[in-house]
Each structure stands twice: as C-alpha cells, then as structure tokens.
C-alpha cells in the first residue's frame, strides 16, 4: 500500500510502517524553541529533570522580544541564558541573530525527511525543504527534551497541485493567501498538505519557505513541498498510489495580488477590491516574508520615492545574514532614503509585543502571517496581510495599493 510523505516520515521516525490516523511514538530529529524556552525550563525544573535525552538536537533562538523591551523580559532572557548552560544545550542563538524559522534553515538544521517539532505554530516552515515540521506547546516540548520522543497522530494528507505560472508582480505570498481564502482557516486542520506542480521546480527557497510557513493559517499539521533534488532519500517522496483525503488543483495563471482582510487570514480579496483603505503602518519582515527576495521586492518599488507622510514603513530582515546581504546589495540604503525604519532581525511587531505596536483605530498592512483582532496592538486596530510588493506600494501611496500600478 502506497504512503504519503507524512506516512513515510512517521514510519521512519517510529520504526514501524504506519498510515494515516494511527497513533505513534516517534523520535524527534530536531526540537526548536524560542523565548518560551523559559516555560520549558521551568516545567523541567519542577519535574526535577536535569539530564536531557538529546541536547544536541535542541535549538534555542531568542527572537520574539528581542532585544528585551522591559526589565521583566530582560530577566526572562537572563534565565534562559543560564538554563542553556545548566542543561548543556549546544545550539543557542541570542538576540539579533534572526527569526527562529529562518535561522533553523539558514544554519543547516533542516534536512529533507526529518521530523522537527517547534514550540511555535509556524514550525510548518520546514516543509519547504521536505521536512515534516509541526508546532507543539511548551509542555509537549518539555517531554521532548526529557525523552527525545513524542506521541503523534499520523495525519491524513491533502494533495494540492498548482498549474500555470505566476503573473508579473504576483508572488508566493499571493499564491498561498489565495489558497487559504479558498480552503478556509480550518480547511486543513489536523491534515498535512503536499504541494505539487511545475512551478516548484524553479521556485526560490525564499518563496517555498513563505508558502510552507503561511500554510499554517489553514490549520495544517505540516505543509510539505517535496525536495526538488530527485536524489533525495525515497522517504522524502510520496508513493504514486498513496491515499489522499482530498486532491485539489489551482490554476494561478491569472492570479491578482491578494490581500487578507481583518480579522481572519481566510478573508482574502484581490487587491483591486480593497485599494484605498488608508493605512498608518506598513511592515515588511517576519518568518513569512523577511528574506532577501522580499526586501528586494520592496526596494525595487520604493526606489527614488518617499513613503507617504502619515505612514511608518518598518523593515525587519529575518536574519543577520539577510541583513548583511541587503546592505551589500544597497537595498537598505534605498529603503532608508525612502524614509523606511530598519529594525533588528527578530519577530518585530508581528505579535504586538514591541517595535511598532498599533494604537486604537490604526491600520497596518503587513507581510506577516496573522491579522487576528488586536494582533499588532490595540483590539481596535486592524491588520491586512499582503506580499512585500503590495505592502511597499501601499506605503508609498498611504493606502492599500496594487503593486502592478506602481511598477508601470
């Protein structure tokens, strides 16, 4: 009987042949956590655990509130640094290195066919490299640190095939927002999605990471784009006779830039239906869209122009390496000349904690992955999600704008 990618990865990780809906205890290849390592360490201290099963598989990255915006957070970071030494965790990245999901990929921790857990919902990102990445909470993560293992239900899989190619100024972000709009916020809850189509053969890693990351917003357990290198191990690919709970095909040849409207990621409209919504803040960054091609899209659009008077344009490179490359290529100079503010690598204002919190009645357009009520600050503020090109075009105009117009 044929297997999906998830069934193959869980079979390898649990040491027996398994299929969808079976419960397994699987060995975890890599375990990522961020600022919430604090809670994980406290749970283990409460349990009296000092010896971890496989500390070499644990990666900790401080990114959610970095650098510390308050004395309280500073104390938490201090606690985590001490814990890293106490638990002898070799892979620790302090503030300013970057966003967890970008760093894990950039530093080579992610390989096709791996089973990776993260105490962060957007752990699905690693599917861009054909690894099964999935989010868990801190108590589950404490169990992983203790034992190196965790229980899972093998997910049923949805096969999504993309046909056609992206029109000019339409990007991976538009593609995945479009799919989320069609599937709904719970359209893939408990399921793994596998992505197919010629489009992936020459799609950049930056774009694939965006798709796998943003897919979380339709509830996926994992979002898998099979490795493009055909010589990858056979457990990284599905069998031709694998069973899918659903097979869908989307033709994207005529796709417009897409915008997810407040307060749900599945409230997706073509940009032409939401132009002229006035904005106060434009954000380009995050684990979804803070990579070099994203900053490039933004720099191209703002080059020689200035951000609208009433708009704050925030740029957050997703890692130190991306930051350096954006400097080398002159993108940051272009953006700063256009009156953008550059923030240090990290999660920035994505979850409303610091660095660009919204006041009552303010509106932002952002390349981040969530637009929930109050996500970026006040419960009476609102967030629209779009591609870096759409966000940059909107920053110039002062209201939501079609990037195809700015590039004319």
């Amino acid at each position: 009987m044929g297997q999906t990618i998830s069934e193959k990865i869980f079979s390898r990780a649990s040491g027996k042949e398994v299929f969808a809906n079976e419960f397994v205890e699987a060995s975890v290849d890599c375990a990522m956590s961020h600022d919430n390592s604090l809670q994980i360490m406290k749970i283990l201290q409460k349990l009296g655990v000092s010896h971890l099963a496989q500390p070499q598989n644990i990666v900790i990255i401080l990114d959610h509130r970095s650098p510390a915006p308050s004395e309280h957070v500073a104390a938490n970071h201090q606690f985590i640094r001490a814990g890293v030494r106490q638990f002898r965790i070799p892979h620790f990245f302090d503030i300013g290195e970057g966003v967890c999901h970008q760093l894990l990929v950039e530093k080579g921790f992610v390989k096709p066919g791996m089973l990776i857990v993260g105490s962060d919902s957007h752990t699905t990102t690693y599917g861009a490299l054909g690894a099964l990445g999935t989010g868990i909470g801190v108590t589950d993560m404490a169990a992983v640190w203790m034992t190196g293992k965790l229980w899972f239900k093998v997910p049923e899989s949805i096969r999504i095939t993309i046909t056609g190619s992206l029109p000019d100024h339409v990007y991976a972000k538009d593609l995945i927002l479009f799919i989320i709009g069609k599937k709904g916020a719970d359209g893939a809850n408990y399921n793994a999605c596998e992505f197919y189509g010629d489009i992936f053969a020459d799609m950049s890693l930056d774009s694939r990471l965006c798709i796998a990351n943003q897919s979380m917003e339709m509830g996926v357990k994992a979002a898998l784009i099979p490795p493009q290198e055909r010589d990858a191990a056979s457990f990284c690919f599905a069998d031709t006779d694998a069973t899918y709970v659903e097979s869908i095909e989307y033709d994207i040849s005529h796709l417009e830039p897409q915008v997810a409207c407040p307060d749900q990621v599945d409230k997706v409209r073509p940009v032409s239906e939401v132009t002229d919504v006035s904005i106060n803040q434009a954000v380009i960054g995050s684990c979804t869209n803070g990579r070099i091609e994203d900053i490039q899209q933004a720099a191209r659009i703002v080059k020689g122009n200035t951000v609208a008077d009433h708009v704050r344009l925030l740029i957050i490179p997703a890692s130190r390496a991306i930051y350096l490359e954006a400097i080398r290529r002159g993108y940051l100079q272009t953006l700063v000349k256009a009156k953008a503010t550059i923030l240090n690598p990290g999660c920035g204002p994505c979850l409303g904690l610091h660095q660009g919190v919204l006041a009552e009645d303010e509106c932002a357009i952002s390349t981040t992955n969530r637009n929930f009520k109050g996500r970026m600050g006040s419960l009476a503020s609102s967030v629209y999600l779009a591609s870096p090109a759409t966000v940059a075009a909107s920053a110039l105009k002062g209201s939501i704008a079609d990037p195809r117009e700015s590039m004319k």
Partner: protein
C-alpha cells in the same frame, strides 16, 4: 470522568490571540493570566463566566499561535471541559496536557443553547442535555490520552510515571 454544568456558548474560529492577547504572555502567574481569558473576544467574559460552566464552541477553537497560556488561562478560570465542533490541533494537545477534557460533537454544538444544563460522562461517552432532555454520543478518546487527562495533565502524568518506576 463526569462533568455537570451550565452551558456557555461561543462562536467559530476563536483563536489564541483572542483567548489570551500577546501583551499578557509575559505573565507567569496562571491566576493573573486567567483574569484576562477571552478578553480579546469579550471584555466582560471573566464576569460572565462562572467556574464550572461548560464552554460550548464552534469550529476551529484555539487556532493560531501555539501559546500554551491559552489553555492555562482557561484552566485557571475554572474550565475543566469543553464541547466543540472542532479544536485546532496545537490547542487540542495543549489542553490535554493541562488536563482539560475536550469533546467534539457537531450535533451537541448545534443543539445546545447557553444556560442549558449539561452532563458529560466519559465512561459511557455520552453528553446529556437535561434542559432539552436530549442525548448526544461521543467518540471515545484513545486510552493514553485518557491516562494523561485522568492524572490532571502531562506534567502530573510524567511525575506519576517516574514514581511507579521507583
């Protein structure tokens, strides 16, 4: 396990930002967290909710962030069990790990109204609506999940396991 309580109905797609907004994530005291539970949805929720009330929710409850503080805030507000159309997967795990029993039943959610008196029996896998004199059947939870729940969550469960080893 048996639960009895008054139903309090909520809608679809209630995400973890609504359950506990990001600005409270630095709070470590679960009692303090509980004072802000569901504040994003309804500023008066903590006043309306009475300890032991059974939350009856629509689809995709707990979607979004993996923040376990969502389950923790509900637990310390007095939520022991919930009935829903569906729960988002990370929230499902977190709630189990905190010892909150989650039951999925579309039929029950359609039928139950706020203030109905509800009895849940996990030995017979049934929900009884005393007010409407109706019964709904549940899918049994797997044994190992029940073991975690019966111990009050994953941490007490692991502690118990350690003790029996010695």
């Amino acid at each position: 396990m048996k639960f009895s309580g008054k139903a309090l109905k909520l809608g679809d797609n209630i995400n973890t930002d609504l359950i506990i907004p990001g600005k409270y994530l630095h709070l470590e005291d679960p009692v303090e967290l509980a004072q802000h539970v569901l504040e994003g949805l309804d500023g008066d929720f903590v006043k309306t909710y009475q300890k032991g009330d059974i939350l009856v929710v629509g689809k995709n409850f707990g979607s979004g962030s993996s923040r376990e503080q969502a389950a923790l805030a509900l637990k310390y507000a007095g939520v022991q069990t919930m009935i829903g159309t569906s729960f988002a997967r990370i929230f499902f795990r977190n709630a189990n790990n905190q010892g909150i029993y989650l039951f999925e039943s579309q039929e029950a959610v359609n039928d139950i109204e706020s203030a109905d008196w509800i009895d849940i029996d996990s030995s017979t896998w049934t929900i009884s609506n005393t007010t409407k004199k109706r019964q709904y059947n549940l899918q049994p939870l797997p044994e190992f999940l029940l073991a975690i729940l019966e111990n009050g969550g994953l941490v007490p469960y692991l502690r118990q396991k350690e003790k029996t080893k010695i």
